[in-house]
Symmetry: C2
Subunit: 294 residues, 2 copies
């Protein structure tokens, strides 16, 4: 099977792990993408529950936050990411999504520590590369791929100094494709004038490790993180991006990850039903159409 | 004189043209960047008032909105932009800032007409290139440079399908550098991993036509357009961008353009005083330091 729809639990933040698994299975899906905070009884227990429901884990969200400029912050990030790698391995997913972190000057926005004067984005990117190099051997040992996620530039200050797919591929380049991949999230990259070329490059380089779909809504939500929308409700052209992803050789699960106040708080069964319909209508035909050409 | 500070009237939206001119002159500035809606008595009258106060116009904001997919919308855009070119010429500024427009699907967000189903960003970019080619001869005749502005990708859907400086330079490439230039606005481009290389390219290609400074604030404002901040209040590293701009050979005026609810509504004299101080502290030293090296 190709292009199997997966619920990323960021879409249903009010559900426990058990509830999310149940809803996903009841909706007839085969995959679920898990956030780490749901692993309250440990990754092994979660793996058993997922498997018992006949599901597979498409990815674990998330590792990252690698931009600390002080030794203590860097050591803490390595410890935390090694734990995330172990959890991904235990869950039987090869894919650990990495949100690389923002500027030290903006760390306080997400409740962290950091140097309020440090706005050097180039230096922050350098530290991401350094920490990544330190994590790769541990990930490879555990047969887990660190999957770099380019975030929309509106999050460059506080969440990720990694803003484009090409930049993610450049960051991945020194490492084996089996250890460092990239994910295409439509919300984050739809605007990029180099997108179709970069997706093709990700395919050629063997690094296309995930495809996440959701829409880009306007107006931008009061909490900017929650501007993501159900496919079809915003301004993303899913046909062209999906075609490019399939033409690049991707056949894996497709996660729906939507942070959106209304969707997050509605009945999860409605969310799952709607995302199945929209996926079938707006995304899957272009994935399959392209697939038949290659 | 190089790097002269200029008030872009977007920073003081409550002032009439006369008031903006008076405040700018009283603050000891030499330049003012005008928005078209201030030209209520025509461009010639505005030119006289600016000149009588001993000021020069650094740029006219703005032309653009070139993405209409229907013939009537395209004709209207050409008419409107020809008028803007005439006004820029009358004002004695060679620089007409161009915000190219968003997707037809999002035109309604800014009160325009458009096809709610048309989310094809590649096609929209193609229409921008087509309209630009139609406007260039008229701009050249009037000795006005069409100055392409890459907008932050958070505005890609509704305001500009032009999101990076490299993309602006690619769009400009078919035309003479005297007729099509680019502007660097720190808010819009600070996050771009290709920024320093793209600024150098703009210099090499003779297209660096303007430098606008303001900060990138967090959280993103409820009206996302108003997330711009006074230099130093947000997350932009003005030193590195300013150095790159000066090293690329730019010596022209530097506009401060801030859409921000608090700043826009405070006493304009305070705004001008603060922007002078922050410019002297955070921007000018890096422009001058780099300038001495070239």
């Amino acid at each position: 099977m190709s292009f199997e729809l997966s619920l990323n639990t960021g879409t249903t933040p009010n559900l426990t792990l058990e509830e999310a698994i149940r809803h996903t299975a009841e909706a007839g899906l085969s995959h679920i993408g898990l956030w780490r905070h749901l692993l309250v009884d440990g990754a092994e227990a979660a793996a058993k529950a997922v498997s018992a429901a006949g599901l597979s884990v498409s990815s674990l969200c998330r590792g990252g936050f690698l931009t600390a400029s002080d030794a203590a912050g860097q050591a803490a990030a390595l410890t935390e990411n090694r734990r995330a790698i172990e959890e991904a391995a235990a869950l039987g997913t090869g894919e650990l999504i990495m949100v690389v972190g923002g500027l030290p000057a903006a760390a306080h926005v997400l409740g962290g520590a950091g140097d309020r004067g440090d706005k050097d984005v180039t230096a922050a990117r350098g530290r991401v590369a350094d920490r990544l190099a330190e994590l790769v051997p541990y990930a490879a040992e555990h047969r887990v791929r660190l999957v770099l996620e380019a975030l929309h530039p509106m999050y460059a200050a506080d969440r990720a100094v990694l803003s484009t797919l090409d930049q993610a591929l450049d960051l991945a380049a020194p490492h084996p494709a089996s250890a460092v991949g990239v994910v295409v999230d439509t919300f984050h990259v739809w605007w990029d004038p180099s997108l179709s070329r970069a997706i093709a490059r990700a395919g050629t380089e063997g690094r296309l490790a995930g495809y996440q779909v959701c829409d880009f809504n306007l107006p931008i939500a009061n909490d900017a993180l929650k501007s993501r929308g159900m496919m079809g409700d915003g301004y993303v052209d899913f046909a062209s991006i999906s075609r490019a992803v399939a033409e690049a050789g991707y056949t894996g699960p497709v996660e729906v990850e939507i942070f959106n106040e209304d969707i997050n708080n509605q009945d999860a069964a409605i969310t799952l039903q709607t995302m199945k319909e929209r996926y079938a209508q707006l995304v899957l035909p272009s994935l399959q159409g392209a697939g038949s050409l290659v």
